[in-house]
Subunit: 289 residues, 2 copies
């Protein structure tokens, strides 16, 4: 199968590396606006062709993988529906690896593309082709959304399986609600935690330097997402704003009950607090129970 990457950062690069090591007969080409990632990948023997002309790559590919942040993917979809449409092969499928699916699916529908959205559920705080790792998706879920306009889901499942991932069919709306919960809400709670402790823009940090000197592993872990790729974070937030806002409102409700509990007249009850913490821990550790 001939796979063309439009975008080749950590995620796209990891897929390309995984395809190279499967030993199967994959042809892989890549194009990015700057061309840096594809040149590096070609020099490393990871891809078969680094294209300076996206149309030439599109014309060579059975499956096109949009491997860019969500808003950039929407722009790629619009170009595929417009200036690049003539280069699309008959029977080709366009897929992507972006963190949000509804905005992109809507764009693919408007552009009338042969579309099957995808989201491999892995990634690290690093970015760029240099951070690509052939084993990144081993054993991880790879969400495959509904086919549109003649897109072939079997092609996307084959790509996931070649990377050692587990294809999971979930429609775009359900996907966006679920990742709002376990990925985007944690990102914003992490950023808000940093803002509350280090001061907001314009507000003096006051005791942040002193607090920072005492910070240990708990602080590092709960703020790790706030150290990640902010351009990506912003594109995720704008393309999944509704579901994230709904989760944030539920979250604020939980925070409110904690404030009320701590401010109980006469002082909070350790047994009540422990019971709540125990209940949360049990649900966290036993999602099915």
């Amino acid at each position: 199968m001939r796979v063309g990457f439009l975008g080749l950062g950590q995620i796209g690069g990891s897929i390309a590396r995984a395809l190279r090591v499967t030993g199967d007969d994959w042809w892989v080409g890549a194009w990015t606006p700057s061309g840096a990632g594809p040149r590096e990948a070609l020099a490393a023997g990871v891809i078969d062709g680094a294209f300076v002309d996206a149309r030439a790559l599109i014309a060579e590919s059975d499956v096109l993988v949009l491997a860019a942040p969500p808003v950039a993917c929407v722009a790629l979809v619009e170009r595929l529906g417009g200036e690049w449409r003539g280069a699309l092969r008959t029977g080709a499928t366009v897929t992507d690896v972006a963190s949000t699916k509804q905005a992109l699916e809507a764009a693919a529908r408007r552009a009338d593309l042969p579309w099957v959205g995808g989201h491999p559920m892995a990634g690290r705080e690093t970015s760029g082709f240099g951070a690509a790792d052939a084993t990144l998706f081993h054993g991880r879920p790879w969400v495959v959304t509904s086919a549109l306009g003649g897109g072939n889901p079997a092609v996307v499942r084959a790509l996931a399986l070649a990377c050692g991932a587990v294809p999971v069919e979930i429609d775009a709306a359900a996907h966006d609600g679920l990742v709002a919960a376990i990925s985007h809400l944690p990102l914003l709670t992490s950023v808000a935690l940093v803002e509350a402790v280090t001061g907001s823009p314009g507000a003096a940090p006051e005791d942040w330097a002193a607090a920072s000197a005492l910070a240990a592993g708990g602080w590092r872990d709960t703020t790790r997402l706030a150290r990640g790729d902010t351009a990506m974070g912003a594109e995720i937030a704008v393309t999944n704003a509704g579901p994230i806002a709904a989760r944030l409102r539920a979250y604020r409700g939980a925070i409110d009950t904690w404030i009320a509990l701590l401010e109980t007249p006469g002082g909070p009850d350790a047994a009540v607090i422990r019971e709540r913490m125990d209940a949360a821990k049990a649900r966290l550790e036993h999602p099915g129970g």
Copy 2:
């Protein structure tokens, strides 16, 4: 110096192990209500005496280290001021390793003990003497609070230095405000995150099982503190409720601004969101700047 531990879990045990490997002339004894930790430590050659009678240990010790959760430490302070007072040696100092300092200092003042509070800023989600590690405090701050009733701060600093830690003098109120920010607020935001996503007690989890199947590293890191020792978490919350509630209110303010931003009429602006995320990341990574 003769050191007596009242309590011997992960933190007390790690101090005992560190004292054993320094090669200096430390005598170490320990008592706990069940006696299990001291028996294990004695068998491992980590301590010189496992005491079944706390009074006998107190009578042997130049420095007493209360190594239990905060509320349990308050009870130990009260016993030292009452039934155990007669056993305290002249010139002895009582210290502790608990996560909150004001409630304990107030109890020590009421009990008229020779007191210098302490808080080594390290720890893991594991607990018990079996999780003790001689290197746990290497290079970590060890908060030393003001002396009361003739307690000797030099003794507590010596203990910290013997463990490879860095003694830092901070008064109890300032300590509790700082750790509310970088330790206790992250704990409660982690628990609230679990509650918001997995459902509150009495509310059906709905899509939690499906969301859980997609969860990756970001979810694991931001919820790690909610998997910790809930008895310890509850004792921290009740002994530092005021400062934690104040931090939670500031945090809720940050969450409210995120909800407003995501619900901007016409859709949120990616540039504005990225700017906020960049500003938070910069303050996080450069606490002095």
